[in-house]
């Protein structure tokens, strides 16, 4: 279904890739020749069949602009994006879940209200504005971290981490806002249950009640929202990589769009969509471990 949509999205929009490739000065015959070369003169269903067949055998075509296979291109750009996304999720989960639990524990208190205020702010502040704010403060004023760029993991762990801290922090803010909010809401719901009263009546330490009893029962919605956040994360990656000059998939997307490189745009969008679907599927499957009542 996603494949059909990605294909249609790029084929049904008015705007003829052949005419764009040929340039403004091209004659009708030249355009026709390019169109035939790209297979665009065949009926749409046949075109789709050919394209889908290739995609299923792992061939996303060749980039108009970079002149190499789109799959190779994606593989080259995968490391920075993967590192950035992984660090972001790690940071976000480690920060937001304790915050959410604390806010639910002291529901209505100053900490709770501060966190909710932060979360509305986190949703509202644009990723790139935050990025520049952090660059200005941390890199330019304080001089703690490098401004931009990316270092491969193979070139040393320290510069690799140094270059990723700011982008990952930038990206994790909206994620923290999202997860903390849901954690708070679902822990709050769990805290109202009878088994919490029982646990407290047994004289269990409060930390154990919160983590073992309340948080464990709130795990499913938290996992779900982490999955929902993946799509937001990918959107953020596109922007963050542009601001911090990280040569990842997000930058590739923007470059491909600016160069009107259709096979690459198609390939990257398909790849990102597959990742989104795959991660959400994994999260669905993880419910079995998080909540033993769920069986597939």
């Amino acid at each position: 279904m996603v494949a059909v949509l990605v294909f249609l999205l790029l084929r049904l929009t008015p705007g003829d890739p052949a005419a764009i490739m040929a340039g403004d000065a091209a004659s009708t015959e030249q355009i026709e020749r390019i169109r035939a070369g790209l297979g665009l003169d065949k009926p749409i269903v046949v075109q789709f069949g050919i394209w889908l067949g290739k995609v299923l055998s792992g061939d996303l075509g060749e980039s108009f602009y970079f002149r190499i296979k789109v799959t190779t291109l994606i593989a080259q750009r995968l490391e920075p994006t993967f590192a950035l996304a992984a660090l972001t999720i790690l940071m976000a989960v480690m920060v937001s879940i304790p915050l959410g639990v604390l806010a639910a524990w002291r529901y209505g208190g100053w900490f709770d209200r501060a966190l909710m205020g932060f979360s509305v702010l986190g949703f509202s502040i644009p990723v790139f504005v935050l990025a520049y704010l952090l660059i200005w403060l941390v890199s330019l004023k304080l001089g703690w971290l490098p401004v931009q760029g990316y270092h491969r993991l193979a070139d040393g762990v320290l510069p690799f981490i140094e270059h990723l801290i700011l982008p990952a922090t930038t990206l994790s803010v909206i994620y923290i806002a999202l997860i903390a909010r849901v954690t708070r809401a679902s822990v709050l719901e769990a805290l109202g249950e009878d088994y919490i009263r029982t646990a407290r009546a047994k004289g269990l330490p409060e930390a154990r009640v919160l983590i073992r009893h309340a948080l464990a029962n709130a795990a499913v919605p938290i996992a779900t929202v982490i999955g929902i956040g993946i799509a937001i994360l990918i959107g953020g990656v596109v922007v963050t990589e542009s601001v911090y000059a990280i040569p990842g998939l997000g930058r590739l997307t923007v470059d491909a769009v600016l160069a009107r490189d259709f096979p690459t745009i198609q390939g990257v969008i398909l790849f990102f969509s597959l990742i989104t679907v795959a991660i959400n599927l994994l999260i669905d499957l993880s419910y079995v471990f998080l909540d033993p009542r769920i069986r597939y």
Partner: protein, 284 residues
């Protein structure tokens, strides 16, 4: 509704922003497209000269400094308010219109439910920003195409909301009564069911509006949005990012406006949700 503090603060800020957008020409601005090579990269508050289209030299105080073409950031930011508010409102309207049509059909006409919802699931699997980028990349970037590009990824969310509401409303006694009286299906859908979905739709509309303003700025910032000569917050920042280290004000001022606007719309939406839909408020 006005007793809610979120509505008051968010609504108040929005009224100010709308006023700024409408009154932009009378707030000490110059034409946002004017530039002057002699007044390039001025710091905020410095005075410089700007030449009008007629060739006159005007003395002008650059409240927010100027960019690398010598254009007045203050004027550009104020005029940018117009673009952002129009895009936000228009995208919300487009997404709501199509979402309501699809949601009503899927919820009320059983045979359409399956196919339509699978298409919507498909759209939802693609991250919103990528759909928007792809659509603008293929169409020539203009106000309508940017609005549509931003609205498309929001349509499935509205559709799902409307469908879920319709599925409960269709079982209500008054709908049954209308069917029994032989009311035409279209009239039941638009006359009996639609009015009962309005409150959650209004709330959803404000969130779409906030998201649209944000996405428009992102598209412009990445260089794939509205053409660079149109003063939008994203375009001002895209132009200023190159020399961000030396002149942070180019990015700073539009960024503040953008963040405040989105925050105001989001707060307004939260407040609306709390007053119109207390059940939903408890869940989040």
């Amino acid at each position: 509704m006005w007793h809610n503090w979120s509505v008051r603060i968010g609504g108040g800020a929005l009224i100010v922003l709308v006023a700024i957008a409408l009154a932009a020409p009378w707030l000490g601005t110059v034409d946002p497209t004017l530039f002057d090579a002699a007044s390039r990269d001025l710091r905020p508050g410095e005075t410089g000269e700007i030449s009008t289209l007629e060739g006159d030299q005007l003395k002008h105080r650059f409240l927010m400094g100027s960019d690398s073409f010598g254009r007045d950031i203050y004027s550009r930011v104020l005029y940018g308010t117009r673009v952002s508010l129009i895009v936000g409102l228009a995208a919300a309207l487009v997404a709501l219109t199509f979402g309501v049509l699809c949601g009503l059909s899927a919820g009320y006409l059983r045979w359409l439910d399956g196919p339509l919802m699978r298409v919507m699931d498909g759209i939802m699997a693609i991250p919103a920003i990528l759909i928007a980028i792809a659509v603008v990349a293929l169409w020539r970037a203009s106000l309508p195409s940017v609005v549509i590009a931003i609205a498309i990824p929001e349509i499935p969310r509205v559709t799902r909301l409307v469908r879920s509401l319709v599925l409960t409303i269709r079982e209500e006694p008054y709908v049954e009564a209308a069917i029994a009286l032989g009311t035409p299906t279209a009239k039941i859908m638009f006359g009996h069911i639609l009015p009962n979905t309005m409150a959650p739709l209004l709330v959803q509309g404000t969130y779409i509006c906030a998201f649209a303003i944000l996405l428009e700025a992102i598209l412009s910032f990445l260089g794939v949005g509205l053409p660079p000569e149109i003063p939008t917050w994203g375009n001002i920042m895209a132009e200023g990012r190159v020399q961000f280290v030396a002149y942070p004000h180019n990015v700073f001022f539009p960024g503040v406006f953008l963040a405040v606007t989105v925050l105001a719309v989001n707060m307004f939406g939260d407040g609306l949700r709390d007053t119109l839909d207390p059940k939903m408020a408890k869940r989040l």
